[in-house]
Symmetry: C2
Subunit: 258 residues, 2 copies
């Protein structure tokens, strides 16, 4: 373990740059995992940790100390709590942070269930959507331009490890993908002719969800062949995008026998 207590240390400066500048982190292809839960999720998915950083108080917590002891061989740094707070991804630092590479993504497949996000800007929503998709058994996600970064600290936190279970394609051409998709593209629309519950949903499905307010952009909506509406007996006309996706993806889980 190497203890660093100077803010001029290049390792500290590099971490702080990744923590505070999205672009630098993206350009370097790096992700920051805050807390044991995310770190364990990456390890369980076979991902490799490059570096572990502990805060002084984190190093004293039994569950963190035990985890670190069981994973010798990973480079280990320790910062005073105040410096750790400057590189931590959350307001309530967990005491342990890991640096890893963005996992390599296989080419997108045109014959499996997938989640397509069009302009979903909020990192919490994107993370929750990926988490819901992973729970429902979906294993591929495509994010169009304008979506929140799937690998940003806030998105990772909301995803709770889902990112490591999915193949994720950012800056994707959603309309182009749907054009060559060998299943059915589905979009939720208030003016659709049939409800989710009355519509046959067979074969691989590509579910498209858009930004709140704007919805799915016209070219993407047109490329999705099937439109359905979610009945809302309460008389309101909208659901949070992640709630709408949960309703749709788990209707498929139900039909496939739960």
């Amino acid at each position: 373990m190497k203890t660093i207590s100077s803010r001029d240390n290049p390792r500290f400066k590099r971490l702080r740059k990744w923590a505070t500048q999205h672009r630098a982190r993206r350009d370097d292809g790096v992700i920051l995992l805050d807390g044991l839960h995310l770190i364990e999720a990456l390890a369980a998915a076979g991902g490799e940790l490059q570096e572990l950083v502990l805060s002084e108080s984190g190093a004293g917590r039994p569950e963190i100390a035990a985890w670190v002891a069981a994973h010798a061989g990973i480079e280990l740094l320790q910062f005073p709590d105040a410096m750790f707070g400057e590189v931590a991804a959350t307001d309530t630092p967990s005491g342990i942070l890991a640096v890893a590479k963005v996992p390599p993504q296989p080419a997108p497949r045109a014959d499996v269930d997938c989640l397509l996000l069009d302009g979903v800007q909020d990192p919490g929503n994107v993370g929750t959507l990926l988490r819901t998709a992973a729970a429902a058994g979906v294993r591929q996600a495509l994010l169009g331009p304008g979506c929140a970064d799937a690998w940003a600290p806030k998105t990772l936190r909301a995803g709770q490890g889902a990112q490591f279970l999915l193949s994720i394609h950012e800056n994707a051409d959603l309309a182009g993908f749907l054009g060559g998709y060998r299943g059915t593209g589905v979009v939720t629309r208030l003016d659709a002719a049939r409800s989710l519950y009355e519509t046959p949903l067979d074969g691989p499905l590509a579910w498209v969800f858009g930004a709140e307010g704007q919805g799915v952009s016209a070219p993407v909506a047109q490329a999705a062949k099937l439109g359905v509406f979610i009945p809302m007996p309460g008389g309101t006309e909208s659901l949070n995008v992640a709630a709408a996706a949960a309703v749709c993806l788990f209707e498929v889980v139900r039909r496939r026998g739960g």
Copy 2:
């Protein structure tokens, strides 16, 4: 319209106190509605606005100017943009803010569908849960101690007006309510014997959701007579609490004929 440009003005100071001190806002029984969407939602539900505040640039926006012109008779203040930013509830101020009283809530009923939240601390989750419940036709919510404030600006924003469609009971005794409930209390549990999709769900239902991580506390879970699990074919063991609620509440929508 009264233009205020001094930070020493008592109206400005009172608004800033409400915007920055949850407790002062709660004690005064006041809510702050940021943006036309929430303001219109309250008006549509028959609520009364006490005061409207515009930013200088907000006053120049046609949709805000038109709305204000159509609602003469409400006391109107205007602040310079910088001062408006200090009382606005969001990082990207909409340009219009309204002050209203927390709507009066009728006594909770023991014979209608309801949503019970146990220790859900995140205001975004609480707002999304209320929004999902409202869309599904649920009209009563009980929030136990430890939940986020249903009327805080962040919760209102996530609720998108749902708060004005529901009767909401905060600091509620959830186990006590379930003890006298004349329908079925339902809780989601990983170790439940039957899946959501295989369980009869008749009559009024009181759905209980707990904090992420901790889940529903033991006395509340025991008071809910029925336990169900949500099948997760993806192999993960959790959903965001608002996603789980969307799955459950819309399964009921489906069974009742969408």
